[in-house]
Each structure stands twice: as structure tokens, then as C-alpha cells.
């Protein structure tokens, strides 16, 4: 069975370093509800170096949502900020860390480079 959330976190763990998180140091824990259980992922970030584990324990920032909602986010089908704004994802602790983490989210499928978009619009129908 496909598990986009696990794929996403495991890929981060394998890479071990994220250019976009070089300004970040701290811990983020994800509590994702799935089949009445809470699936936990813990990211320990040290200036871009990221260690991923399933450990429990305190974190500077805790993100809570359903696993289904998080699956949509990590596949680019939902936007993490919009999901937060409609309360499907909750945040506790260091909001800056969460905001930096958002940089790892994929964009929506099918988005255009502005140059390609302009060319498409200029092409006679």
C-alpha cells in the first residue's frame, strides 16, 4: 500500500541535508492521526542537517493533523498553509521552524514557469 508520508520522511532521512533548512536548528515532531492511532515522526535539524526518527518526546514545534491530510500535503495536492488556516493542521511551539519546514513541500502538479505560461497564452488558439 502506498504511504506518501513515510516516503517523504524517509527520503529526507536518506538525504540527510536540506539546503532550504540551513537557517534552521531545532526539533519538529509530527503527530499524524491514522486509524485511531498517532503516527509520530521526529526531525532533528541542525543548520540544514536533518535526522529523521520515529522517537517520541518533546520538540520545539509540534504539527498535528490526520495522516490523510498530510499525505495530500506531501504530494502537492494540498497546500500546507491553507490546510493550517482551515484548522485541518495545528501547530504548537516555534512557528518559524514550521515555516522553514514548509520550504520542503512540493508545489502543485502542473504549475507553469512564467515564461512557458506566457508562450502558451501568446500561441494563437
Amino acid at each position: 500500500m502506498s504511504d506518501p508520508t513515510a516516503d517523504f520522511f524517509e527520503a529526507i532521512g536518506r538525504r540527510g541535508h536540506e539546503r532550504h533548512l540551513e537557517e534552521a536548528t531545532g526539533t519538529i515532531r509530527f503527530d499524524l492521526e491514522h486509524d485511531h492511532e498517532v503516527e509520530r515522526w521526529l526531525l532533528v535539524i541542525d543548520r540544514g542537517d536533518v535526522r529523521v526518527s520515529r522517537e517520541e518526546g518533546p520538540a520545539d514545534c509540534v504539527v498535528r493533523s490526520s495522516r490523510a491530510a498530510f499525505d495530500r500535503i506531501v504530494t502537492g495536492r494540498s497546500h500546507i498553509y491553507a490546510t493550517w488556516a482551515r484548522n485541518e493542521l495545528r501547530l504548537e511551539g516555534d512557528a518559524r521552524l514550521a515555516r522553514l519546514f514548509q520550504r520542503l513541500m512540493p508545489g502543485p502538479p502542473g504549475a507553469h514557469h512564467p515564461r512557458d505560461f506566457a508562450q502558451e497564452r501568446r500561441r494563437p488558439a
Partner: protein, 682 residues
């Protein structure tokens, strides 16, 4: 307030009411209590014995504190008032109203005092047209409190109203039956809390901390004023305008959830109390010599929210600096793109400019080093994503064709970019000032690369690109028969040939060839553009010129402050002084609070500046205008670790002394005296 509405606020929690203190929201008069882009009260009406109240007077004490004196009858000469009421209202922490009702009679009175309460939980984007909302409303009466709620999916907002005096609570309000003794009084304090998910304080749930109480707000305002540079001057108007600007700038400070209580300027009160890329950057630039902390927060926060991916709905691209960030229901359910929305083609270059200017004033090299990756991404955006046509210019064309902005420059109304004959150009569009900003960003980026990032090759490349851009721009944008720069190029490379104020920004950026600067200055101060108060957005002979057209003929104070700065950069001290003088003269008519824009009518014709009717006042970059004009008149520039001044004060302003100017030098002073024979050019 000229529109009969009274505003009070703390950050993006604010109340807009009628002069009685009542709130009775309608599409035409959008009053209410708002927090984080949601309306929490759409009705808050006081009545005494069934009579609505009338305003006797309003005392706006501070931006977070107001007193309303009201009576339950129409004030009539020679008729004694038997009962009056005082509504003391503050915001900060919660919205609180202390209501005192006074009996002026020698007999006791029995009164039924009532507050009608309602909330439509409208999103800020729908207040002009609250549709049938998708969610479910509910009302609960609990322990003498009234709880109003709105739920859509997991999105939840609640208003909780409590009262110190015991009230009879029903679903539509609170009633008090009271007897007041002769010459006695009765009082209650009502608290209104804006709550988010799980009934938590909205600010706490969104920002991680509750709002500030009134005492904290007052201490904070006192500290802000005490830390600001001190101005003494001959002009009473300038002194009043400066004081007003400092206080308004304090009110406009917005504390984002990610920056540990530090503030940046929001765009305008009350509807634009949000993070805007362009507005926050330009206001921070204007205020740099006065309050450099604003710039520090602005560069950091905008870097944190910098674009990473391609997203058509939000018009996001890697490295791009945002346009606007919001919090409401329409954002959550992706009916509006402000999460954030990135539809502005100038904020990215302007951000680089602010970063460099910030370091020049403050010497904060740490921030510049820390933001190297963001700055490189911003500079890369200019060439990769800004250059839609692949010809070395910055262009825009919206990809969100549903609710994205058609014009993504500061003149963002639909008809702002036009040909002389009034036609609108095809997309994409490359407005001239975008090229100036890109040029300046490259020059400044080169300085940062050389001095802080240890990358001289990159610096050389940026300088080479800037020089090529300047040469290309002076060839392609120069309107030969009019001797000025075109407003824009259209998608076919044609010059959008209207004469506009945008050419003034080009002087500020330094992209204007020396040989052409005099001609540009002549246009700016010529009769087609200069109204006597300031430079019009569009020249009087253009097809779409309208003295009260938003971006096609009005005078914008902020626009003029940057134009004056540009004129000084090229040595036109006399011309810069005339603009400063005109705008400060205009400020007198607005009691020191410059509006967003005023009419482009000739000064000789109307004798006073005609107010352009907008809902937002104060507007951040209008508030910043007197500050930048002071910098311009005093010729303040950081040179190494010193503040140098080259004062050029226009004759009518006499003497200007500014003390306690913060910067890398610690604190310094500047003194300027009008010179009777201020001559043009150096």
C-alpha cells in the same frame, strides 16, 4: 474621521464603528470587530429604554483607546438631557467596553439598557458582499455569557461576550434592568473575546501568544516615541506632520507570528493590516533613518516567506518575495490565493535594495551574511522568472486568471498602465520602474557580494549585467518625440508611451543616463505632471488622465517622496525641495496625516488638496513620506561609519534640526537651514 467611522486597533485586531460606538455592519458601511481577517462582531448596538443613542462627542485617546459620549435622544438646544452614557473602549488583549450610564435627574430612574449583538463571521474578502456562507452558525448562552460561533469543516471561529454586571442574556444580546439613584450612575464592563479552534484565544492559537493589554500598549508607544529622532523646526506643519507620522507608524506595526514579537509595518489601516511585500519594504526604506528595526524585521520575515516552488494560483516562483499574506476562511479553503499571494513583480528587487540600504545605515553585517542564500535566490528570480520574454527585462503576466492581479506593479489598478491614447497594452507588460529596481538591485547585490559574501566574480557579473540593462533600457524605453521614458513595453515590444510619474522612480534607481536626467526633472516639475502640490501619477494630456483616477491622475505622497529622493540623487536639489514643500503644504490640510492619494487638480484651481476617497487611513507609505522627505531635504547619507548631511531646505521651511538619528554611528544629528538662493543643479 472624514467618513464618520471610528477605528481602534492593535495589530490586525481592530474595531470600526459609527461615531456613537455602535456597529451595524452593511455592505456599504463595513463596520465590525475584526481579528486575523475575520469579522467577530457585525452588530453591537446600545439602546436605552428602546432608544438608540446619538453621539455627543468622541475622544480618540490613542489608536487603541477611544471614549464615546452618547445620549439616548436627539440633542436639541434648550432641552435638558436626563440620561447620558459613556462608552470607554479599548483593544489589546480583548476588545473591552466599559459602559457607564449617568442619571442627571434629581429623581431615580428605571432604565432598560440593552446591547444587541450579532456576528456574521465574514471573511475580510467578502465584507462587501457576504454571500450565503457554507458553514454553520450557532449560539450558546452559558454562565451569563453569550457565545456566537461559526463552523465550516474543522474551521471554527467564536465570539465570547461577558459582562461584569449581571445581564439577562438571550441569543441576540444582553439586557440590564437597572434603577439609578438621583445623580447616580451605573456601570458594567463588557469583554469580547475572539476565539479560534477549540475555543482558544485566536491570537494565541495563531500567533502563539495572547494580545497585549492596554498598559503594555501604552508603555510600548511611549518607548517608541522616546526612541525616535527629535525634530525641531520653524514649520509648524512639518512638526505636526512628523509627530503624527511617528504615532501612526507605531499603530501600523504588525507583529508576525514567526518573529518573536518584533514588528514590521503593515500596509494600511484598517483593511490592509497585513503583511504586504511592496508596502512593508517601501515604508521600511522611508523609515530607515528613524526606526531601522522595522527594516530588520521586514527583510527577515520576507526572506522566511520567500517563494520556493512554482504555483500558478499563488503566482509563486522560486526566490520571489510575496505580495500579501492573510489568515481568513477564504484563504484556508483556497477561494483566495493569499497564503501567501506572490503577484507583484517589484517586491523581489525592492527586497534586495532594502537589505543593502539597511546594512548601509545600521552596519548589521550578520543579517546580510545570514540572508545570503535568500538574496542570491532573489537576484536569480529577476533573470529567471521575472524575465518572461527572455530579453533581459522584468515582465509580469498573471497565471491566476481568476483572482490574480492584472497589474503587478505599485500602480495595480486595471487601467493604470496605458498608452497615450488610452488603449491598454497586451500582456505581458514590463513597466519602466521595474527595470530601474532590477538595475539598482544588481548594483547593490554586487556590493553585498563583494563586501560580505566574499564572491567578487559574482559581484563583477552583477555589475556587468546592470550596465547592460541600463544601456538596453535607455535605448528601448526612451520615447524620442516626447523625450521621456515610456511607462512600459507591451508583449510585442512596443513602447507604452504615456508620460507618468514612474519616470521619477527611475531617478531614484540610478538607471537614467546622466545626459537625460535634466529632461526627466523638467518633465516631473512641468505643468503636465506637477500639480503644485506634487507629481501626478499620469500627465494631464494623456488619454486616461483623470484628476481623481486612482492611478491615472491623482497625486500619491509616497510616490513623491521617492521622486524627491531620486531628484536629489541626480543633483536636482531645488526640484526635490519643491516637491517636499508641496507635499508638506498639503499635509497641513490633513492635520499632518497624509492620505494615500489626493486629487491631481491644479493647486491654483482648488487651493486645497482634494481628498481621494479611500477607506484606508493611515496608509503606511504615506505615513513614511514625511520621514523620507526629511532625509531628502537634509541630504542624509551614511558614508562609512558616519552620517553625512548635505542640507537643501526649501525657503518656506526655514530651519530643520533632527537629533538622535540612529545608525552605525550610534546617534547623530543633522541641521539644515533654508538658503535664500537655492539654485538648480549641484
Amino acid at each position: 474621521m472624514s467618513d464618520g467611522l471610528v477605528r481602534l486597533l492593535d495589530g490586525n485586531t481592530f474595531v470600526v464603528s459609527e461615531e456613537t460606538g455602535d456597529i451595524d455592519a452593511s455592505p456599504a458601511i463595513p463596520t465590525g470587530l475584526f481579528s486575523f481577517d475575520t469579522r467577530f462582531l457585525s452588530k453591537w448596538i446600545l439602546s436605552i429604554n428602546g432608544e438608540r443613542v446619538n453621539a455627543l462627542s468622541i475622544e480618540e485617546i490613542e489608536y487603541f483607546e477611544t471614549r464615546f459620549f452618547v445620549i439616548p435622544t436627539v440633542p436639541t438646544p434648550l432641552v435638558d438631557i436626563s440620561v447620558s452614557a459613556l462608552r470607554e473602549r479599548t483593544i489589546g488583549g480583548n476588545f473591552a467596553e466599559r459602559l457607564t450610564v449617568i442619571n442627571h435627574e434629581p429623581e431615580p430612574v428605571d432604565l432598560r439598557i440593552r446591547i444587541d449583538i450579532e456576528s456574521d463571521f465574514a471573511d475580510l474578502f467578502e465584507i462587501k458582499d457576504v454571500r450565503n456562507k457554507t458553514g454553520r452558525y450557532y449560539t450558546r448562552i452559558e454562565d451569563g455569557c453569550l457565545r456566537l460561533g461559526y463552523q465550516r469543516g474543522m474551521f471554527c471561529r467564536e465570539t465570547l461576550i461577558s459582562s461584569t454586571a449581571t445581564a439577562q442574556v438571550d441569543e441576540r444580546g444582553m439586557t440590564y434592568d437597572v434603577r439609578i439613584e438621583p445623580h447616580g450612575q451605573w456601570a458594567t464592563e463588557m469583554q469580547v473575546k475572539a476565539l479560534g479552534v477549540d475555543g482558544r484565544d485566536l491570537r494565541e492559537s495563531l500567533q502563539g501568544r495572547p494580545g497585549r493589554a492596554r498598559m503594555q500598549l501604552r508603555e510600548d508607544l511611549d518607548r517608541w516615541l522616546a526612541e525616535s529622532p527629535r525634530l525641531t523646526c520653524d514649520s509648524a506643519t512639518l512638526a505636526m506632520t512628523y509627530r503624527r507620522s511617528l504615532t501612526d507608524l507605531a499603530a501600523l506595526r504588525f507583529m508576525p507570528l514567526t518573529d518573536g514579537g518584533r514588528a514590521l509595518p503593515a500596509a494600511g489601516l484598517p483593511w490592509f493590516m497585513a503583511i504586504f511585500g511592496r508596502d512593508s519594504i517601501l515604508t521600511s526604506l522611508q523609515a530607515l533613518p528613524f526606526a531601522p528595526s522595522l527594516a530588520a524585521t521586514t527583510v527577515r520575515l520576507l526572506a522566511l516567506l520567500q517563494g520556493v516552488v512554482l504555483d500558478d494560483f499563488r503566482e509563486e516562483e522560486p526566490g520571489k518575495i510575496l505580495h500579501e499574506l492573510r489568515y481568513g476562511e477564504t484563504i484556508g479553503f483556497e477561494e483566495q490565493p493569499h497564503s501567501p499571494y506572490y503577484g507583484s513583480a517589484d517586491s523581489t528587487a525592492l527586497w534586495v535594495i532594502l537589505l543593502d540600504e539597511y546594512e548601509r545605515w545600521t552596519g548589521d553585517a550578520t543579517t546580510v551574511r545570514r540572508l545570503e542564500r535568500s538574496a542570491r535566490a532573489a537576484l536569480h528570480w529577476i533573470d529567471e522568472y521575472g524575465d518572461i520574454m527572455g530579453d533581459g527585462y522584468v515582465w509580469y503576466q498573471r497565471r491566476n486568471e481568476k483572482n490574480g492581479l492584472e497589474n503587478q506593479c505599485w500602480k495595480d489598478s486595471w487601467d493604470a498602465i496605458c498608452f497615450r491614447d488610452g488603449r491598454l497594452p497586451a500582456l505581458p507588460r514590463a513597466t519602466c520602474e521595474l527595470q530601474g529596481y532590477a538595475y539598482d538591485a544588481k548594483i547593490r547585490g554586487a556590493r553585498l557580494a563583494r563586501e560580505f559574501w566574499n564572491d567578487p566574480q559574482y559581484a563583477d557579473r552583477l555589475e556587468r549585467e546592470a550596465a547592460e540593462l541600463k544601456e538596453r533600457f535607455n535605448r528601448d524605453f526612451w520615447v524620442a518625440d516626447g523625450e521621456y521614458y515610456a511607462l512600459a513595453l507591451d508583449g510585442d515590444g512596443r513602447q507604452v508611451d504615456a508620460l507618468s510619474s514612474n519616470i521619477g522612480h527611475l531617478l531614484w534607481s540610478g538607471i537614467v543616463d546622466e545626459s537625460r536626467a535634466a529632461k526627466i526633472a523638467e518633465h516631473l516639475l512641468g505643468p503636465r505632471l506637477f500639480s503644485g502640490w506634487g507629481v501626478r501619477t499620469l500627465a494631464t494630456e494623456e488619454g486616461r488622465y483623470n484628476p481623481i483616477g486612482y492611478h491615472v491622475g491623482t497625486v500619491w505622497p509616497f510616490d513623491n517622496s521617492f521622486i524627491a529622493w531620486g531628484l536629489r540623487r541626480y543633483g536636482f536639489t531645488h526640484e526635490a525641495g519643491r516637491i517636499a514643500e508641496g507635499i508638506i503644504d498639503a499635509a497641513e490640510f490633513f492635520h499632518g496625516r497624509l492620505p494615500e492619494a489626493f486629487g491631481g487638480y491644479d493647486r491654483e484651481l482648488t487651493r486645497y488638496p482634494v481628498l481621494y476617497p479611500t477607506a484606508c487611513s493611515p496608509q503606511a507609505w504615506s505615513t513614511g513620506t514625511p520621514l523620507l522627505l526629511l532625509r531628502t531635504m537634509l541630504g542624509m547619507e551614511p558614508r562609512g561609519n558616519h552620517l553625512v548631511t548635505r542640507p537643501a531646505v526649501p525657503p518656506s521651511l526655514g530651519r530643520i534640526e533632527l537629533l538622535h538619528i540612529p545608525g552605525r554611528w550610534g546617534r547623530a544629528g543633522a541641521l539644515g537651514r533654508a538658503h535664500p538662493a537655492l539654485t538648480s543643479r549641484r
